[in-house]
């Protein structure tokens, strides 16, 4: 008998039952020949089928079979856990969603097409487009997505420390994934660069914490705004050629003065001088630290030994 046929019958039996069925019950519920008559090879095949259904994402639940002593594992799939619960998407909506998923591809190797479960998309509805972005989404990212959505507490190693985190937000920005949440160890808000999470990520059961009204968000501010150096307001003269991207980067409120030659003066809070110096050096001779004197001489002192 074909494996596909056995699996379909197994899923139908698991969905149709109102009480958990033991392995032997299920063997009896499937057409003769679905499984081997040999108990040991039946057990092995059944265990593999079960693992494969789980790997597909089927919500297979395991409970004790009522009235068994010692208790036997019983299996079923609750239709409420299995069945999609979405308002139907019109062909135009589905096509727009599909197009968006092709423009911004969030996947490494798709194992199957989730759009099938939404009804499939006719190729004639979906123009061939080049992607505008490939966003890496590996198993760790998918796990963290489920964890934030289903409110599972995650455990992982970060900078060699073990962390227990209530994940609030998962954000891809500046080419990287960041996780923000409540770190239970120090009992405070934290954010983590996902590519620096070492080793496996363990998840608790769902609904393990309450999502706060005001969740911890990922914040990617320039590095020099955070530090221990005491905050100074730097005045930076920027050459005209750099103004468009610097304005985008620092925000338009950073400009305090436009000069006649097209250059402009920016004011920026600096709490980490090394990071600020590194930033200013990317301008080469297209920017000058005007003040305060402390920052200006820091900058000169850095450069003097390098000439």
């Amino acid at each position: 008998m074909k494996k596909l046929e056995r699996m379909l019958n197994l899923v139908a039996a698991l969905l149709a039952t109102e009480r958990p069925l033991s392995r032997q019950d299920l063997r009896g519920k499937l057409p003769h020949g679905s499984y081997s008559d040999n108990d040991e090879s039946f057990r092995r095949t059944f265990e593999r089928d079960k693992d494969e259904l789980r790997s597909m994402g089927l919500p297979l639940s395991v409970e004790n079979v009522p009235g068994t002593d010692p208790p036997l594992d019983g299996y079923r799939i609750r239709p409420g856990d299995y069945e999609a619960d979405l308002p139907a998407l019109t062909p135009a909506e589905l096509a727009a969603l599909h197009l968006a998923s092709n423009l911004v591809r969030l996947d490494d190797v798709p194992r199957s097409d989730p759009f099938w479960q939404l009804g499939g998309v006719a190729q004639s509805d979906s123009p061939q487009v080049g992607a505008v972005a490939d966003v890496p989404a590996d198993d760790v990212i998918r796990l963290l997505m489920s964890a934030t959505a289903e409110r599972r507490i995650v455990r992982f190693t970060y900078n060699t420390n073990s962390r227990v985190v209530e994940p609030h937000r998962l954000v891809f920005t500046r080419g990287r994934w960041y996780l923000a949440g409540h770190d239970q160890g120090p009992n405070e808000a934290r954010q983590f660069r996902v590519d620096r999470i070492g080793g496996p990520v363990d998840c608790s059961e769902g609904d393990a914490f309450v999502r706060p009204e005001d969740p911890v968000d990922v914040s990617i501010e320039p590095a020099w705004r955070y530090g221990e150096d005491g905050t100074l307001i730097a005045r930076l003269l920027v050459h005209e050629r750099h103004i468009p991207w610097v304005s985008d980067f620092l925000g338009p409120t950073g400009v305090v003065e436009h000069l006649a030659d097209g250059s402009a003066i920016f004011e920026e809070p600096v709490s980490n001088r090394a990071a600020f110096r590194s930033f200013v050096l990317t301008f080469l001779d297209g920017a000058e630290v005007l003040g305060p004197e402390e920052l200006r001489s820091d900058f000169i002192n850095w450069l003097e030994p390098l000439r």
Binding site: L8, Q123, R142, E150
Partner: protein
């Protein structure tokens, strides 16, 4: 297509069955197209597999009823499979986050099909979970992004003022835009630059002005795999850099063609150099934590001292 495993076919059939049940005799061709099935495989699965599927005791009233005509198919009595399997939280979020980030680029208004689809999708997600994942592709002026996107669609050249980071100069250029994409938090437009007479990549936030012209260009074949990254295969001149342990970020930040650990936490890394100004910046930022050990002509430590002198001149030093 025939290389699909039983599991892949199972997952697809579980999606196809409820769809066919809903459609009342859809064309086989449409299933082939929608679900990326080969026709032969689909017919085989319908006639030789699904026909025998049902629940105990597998009497005719307990079996799925499949009727295949020449070009259509009907499925009835598949009660257990009346709804498709729900997408996992991660799958929903992937689709949702991709859609949201596209709304950000296109500024699709809330009446558009994409926004409507996202609203429906959010209604099927665990309450509040649609807000948990976000994809921020890049910053940049929406006005310039709009001009670039429409010029690509219209196949019209664009006239831009561009600041070249590598050359550290700004100037006007005429560009045939071929592709618009995001990478590491920035938007880029790749295309043929008339000034350079070759393919170039422009970072959108370094474009200070962008106008669509009336000049039409012929689109080259879209090459999705075209690699716009800095090549590490020796096509560019390379320097060998010695880094102190606190300068390890260089290895994470830039493409390189090899790293070796040295004693005392030091590293040696081979870096391709796309422009002398790029290397100047890197050496100035590294200061005492990085030095060039081997270099082709013109890319040695003298670059750093010349650049330092140019900058110090601004400060009257």
């Amino acid at each position: 297509m025939n290389s699909l495993t039983a599991l892949e076919r199972l997952r697809r059939l579980l999606a196809v069955i409820p769809w066919v049940v809903d459609q009342d005799g859809p064309l086989i061709e449409e299933i082939v197209e929608r679900f990326d099935y080969s026709r032969d495989e689909l017919l085989d699965d319908l006639e030789h597999v699904l026909f025998f599927v049902g629940v105990h005791p597998f009497t005719p009233d307990c079996l799925i009823d499949v009727t295949v005509s020449e070009d259509r198919v009907w499925i009835q009595y598949a009660d257990w499979f009346r709804r498709p399997m729900r997408l996992s939280a991660a799958e929903m979020l992937q689709i949702y986050a991709a859609g949201r980030s596209v709304v950000e680029i296109t500024g699709d208004n809330h009446l558009g099909p994409l926004e409507r689809a996202l609203t429906k999708l959010a209604s099927g997600m665990i309450s509040g979970s649609n807000e948990t994942v976000e994809v921020r592709l890049g910053a940049g002026s929406m006005e310039i992004i709009d001009v670039v996107r429409s010029a690509i669609a219209d196949r019209k050249s664009i006239d831009i003022d561009y600041y070249s980071y590598g050359r550290d100069t700004a100037g006007a250029r005429l560009v045939d835009p071929h592709r618009f994409y995001a990478d590491k938090g920035h938007w880029y437009v790749a295309g043929h630059c008339h000034k350079a007479a070759s393919q170039r990549v422009f970072r959108v936030d370094r474009i200070s002005r962008c106008d669509e012209t009336s000049l039409e260009f012929e689109r080259p074949l879209l090459d999705e795999d075209h690699d716009y990254q800095i090549p590490t295969d020796g096509r560019l001149p390379e320097v060998l850099l010695e880094l102190a342990s606190e300068a390890r970020w260089v290895v994470e930040e830039y493409p390189h063609s090899g790293v070796e650990e040295e004693s005392g936490g030091k590293l040696r890394v081979r870096l391709p150099v796309s422009s002398a100004h790029w290397l100047e910046r890197l050496l100035l930022r590294l200061g005492p934590t990085g030095k060039v050990i081997k270099w082709p002509d013109g890319l040695g430590m003298e670059l750093r001292s010349e650049a330092a002198q140019r900058i110090l001149a601004l400060y009257g030093v």
